[in-house]
Point group: C2
Chain length 195, copies 2
DNA sequence: TAATTAATTAAATTAGCCTTCGATTTCGTC
DNA sequence: GACGAAATCGAAGGCTAATTTAATTAATTA
């Protein structure tokens, strides 16, 4: 079987694992559970992946790459800080919406990465967060955003809101991911209160 | 040794477990790890607690009770919806700030409860969320809040922001929990944008 | 068809898990 | 100092975990 088929089976393993990890958590998910989902024996998994953790690494770092790509696109644009923040939020939501399962694992299970992967992952994350923080700080400097709100609190509140989306968003609902991104951006930037 | 001493030792076990569960997750935390933290053998733990899960039950349901108590106080007050929401947010933050470790476990590890505890826990949570949702809906009805934002999205964004606080808040920082609650309420109700 | 490669498996390895049990130590009180 | 209760321990039971190995089956290619 050629490389494509190999990848395809490996992808199946990783996608099934994502669903399992999301449901039960990484540590509580066994390779037997995973094998059963695919209708094979646990030992067979090791023809496709090197270890349980390799699966987690794939899920975490592939998502991280998507987020970075999305943010880099936004940073290129020459728009106001408010608009940049809006676009960043919408991009983040769209990346997550493309794979809600992997997003949930990315967010909740990355801590089970071993070193040095965990360190690398956290460095990527802090970099990503800081680039959003820079947008907020820029907005505050030019007077678009309030200066009264602590910047760390602002960016952490933002990420909390974004990152929990996979926990409650129903992709079959009336509101599509782009609308969701718009509404989220509206709520976080303009608030709940009527003007 | 009298009951007080017994409780005290049990509390030690539960508090150590909370720190462990927070750090490594429930499933990845072993009773040996926990015993080692306390300087005893794993078998000795069972003089104080019935099982590993009993510890998790304590942590989850004790926190849940605190949240309910706080919200019930707020609901009694006769104030505008905005104000009620503000008070609810501040109360929620204050309850979490009293025990950030237990809060983190409450939020991230409750899914490892077995039945029927998991079901009971989720019922408590959905009830709590719905009572906040009712405040937001009331605010929208009387024209204090925008009607354009989806109510489920609003309340979930709110809870995401609140519930992730234990992940990043540094209790030794300049900003104290009450200030934090005020700023969070301000950001969520009024938004980031300068008026 | 024969040769090669991929996919799967059963069995074994090694290690860890939670929990129980009986015996022992610690400790406050008489 | 002796007694009884609480706390702790060592050892073991019973299970489940991830992974490796060697053998087998299926699929592809030449």
């Amino acid at each position: 079987m050629e490389a494509v088929g190999n990848l395809s089976r490996k992808e199946q393993v990783i996608r099934s694992a994502a669903a399992l990890f999301r449901e039960k958590g990484y540590a509580a998910s066994s390779m037997r559970d995973l094998a059963q989902k695919l209708g094979i024996e646990a030992a067979s998994l090791y023809s496709h992946i090197k270890s349980k953790e390799e699966i987690l690494q794939h899920l975490c770092f592939d998502m991280a790459a998507e987020f970075r790509k999305s943010l880099a696109e936004v940073e290129k644009k020459e728009v106001t800080a408010s608009e940049k923040l809006r676009l960043g939020i919408i991009g983040h939501i769209q990346v997550m919406a493309k794979d809600l399962t992997a997003s949930a694992v990315f967010m909740n299970e990355h801590r089970h990465l071993s070193q040095p992967f965990l360190r690398d992952f956290l460095l990527l994350r802090i970099n990503y967060i800081n680039r959003f923080k820079a947008i907020i700080e820029e907005g505050a400097r030019v007077g678009e955003f309030k200066d009264s709100i602590d910047k760390k609190l602002a960016v952490m509140t933002l990420f909390s809101s974004l990152n929990w989306m996979p926990m409650w968003y129903d992709p079959s609902s009336k509101i599509d991911p782009t609308q969701l991104g718009h509404q989220l951006a509206d709520m976080l930037v303009n608030g709940l209160k009527k003007v």
